[in-house]
Amino acid sequence: MADPIHQFQITPLPGLDFGEVTLPVIGTVHLAFTNSHLAMTLAFVLVIAFLQVSTSRAQVVPGRLQAAGETMFGMIDNLAQSIIGHDGRKYFPFVFTLFMLVLMMNLLGMFLTFTATSQLAVTATFGVLTFALVVIIGIAKNGLGFFGLFWPTSAPLLLRPVVGLIEFFSFLLRPVTLALRLFGNMLGGHVALKIFAGFIVSLMGVALAGGVGLFALPVAALSLGMVIALTALEFLVAFLQAFVFAVLACIYLNDVVNLGHGH
């Protein structure tokens, strides 16, 4: 059976491997344009192409593609404004970029042999980027008041340091949970797909031998059914995880944008 982990292997594209360098803090870095870079680039180009085509000749009465683009746009716009409030428009481009990139990488993974968002490096970059933005905006907007985020005024005074400490650690864990949620979903889905698809191939091999091996046929059929069902589920997960990422980014941004009022 094919190795279900093999699909996550990073391999430099032929002719684009520039060898390894050792940097002081980071350690060994393999400089190459890999299949992961290719998948990211494809997603990036597709997002731009989609947005360009759906907005280039934008009309008051939208065409099909424009309606699709506007649906995406409106969904994230409503999300940002309903969670962050009036300031939501300012942070919309970030959330929308995040959502479109994650969504396109997830969806591309359904069609290609490589899924960029199943790389922890990619999801961690998204997570750390979101976290860094939240911290920067929090400090820029509130100054030292940013640390009020970890001082729960609604808790009893005695418990405040404890609750605050818990808040602080859960805040620090946000990029980790953001990265692991997306990574785990994509990893698990694609491994499951690969395993069930591998079952079909190996069971058919058994069945072709004839005799008792023919009992493998119904199991192979069952595996095929699982693959079909999982594929549908994975499309849903691809969208849902991108949406969840956008929702959480909005919630985290709201924490620091509207710090001190409404909480």
Binding site: F8, T28, T55, A58, V60, T97, S118, A121, L187
Partner: protein, 201 residues
Amino acid sequence: MAATPSAPPPVLPVEQAVEYAAETGHVPANAAAAAAEHDAGGLPQFEFQHWAGQAVYLLILFAILYVLVAKVFAPRLRRVIDERAETVSSAVATARSVQTEAAAQAEAAKADLEKARADARATAAAAKARVTAEIQARQAEEEAAVAARVGEAEKAIAATRDGAMVHAAAIASDTTRAIVERLTGKAPTAAEADAAVKGAA
């Protein structure tokens, strides 16, 4: 791991193989096998030498897309969405004003109709009154004429009766003279007979 040395690499223990690789730049066969074994044990996602390249590249792509969304795509879509909202609201406003206008016109038409109906009613009433008056006048005229004729006829009847009554006295006196002449053989004078008749009457 693409090492194609001219001579087949020697088979060495792993730690020596790493040294060998560092010295010669060639990967011994069992070192490659060890690396493969290591790969099979863990997820390829945890090969950290690939992290920096992916992260930096993704950040660059993200930055470009962010600028494009913020400067090009979002304003475009926002413009058309705002434009649509404006078009819809202005169309609704127009429709509303047209509707109120139509309602006002309908109200005016209704008032006109009421007025016309009242006029017609008044005209009809006037005509009826006029006709009634005319009929009454004509009736009165006719009644007067009839009454006059009745009066004339009554007068004629009375004259005829009076005449007849005069003749009746004369006839009675004549008859009286004849009767008296027969009975007495002597005819009374006309004046005596008349007096007798008048006295008898």
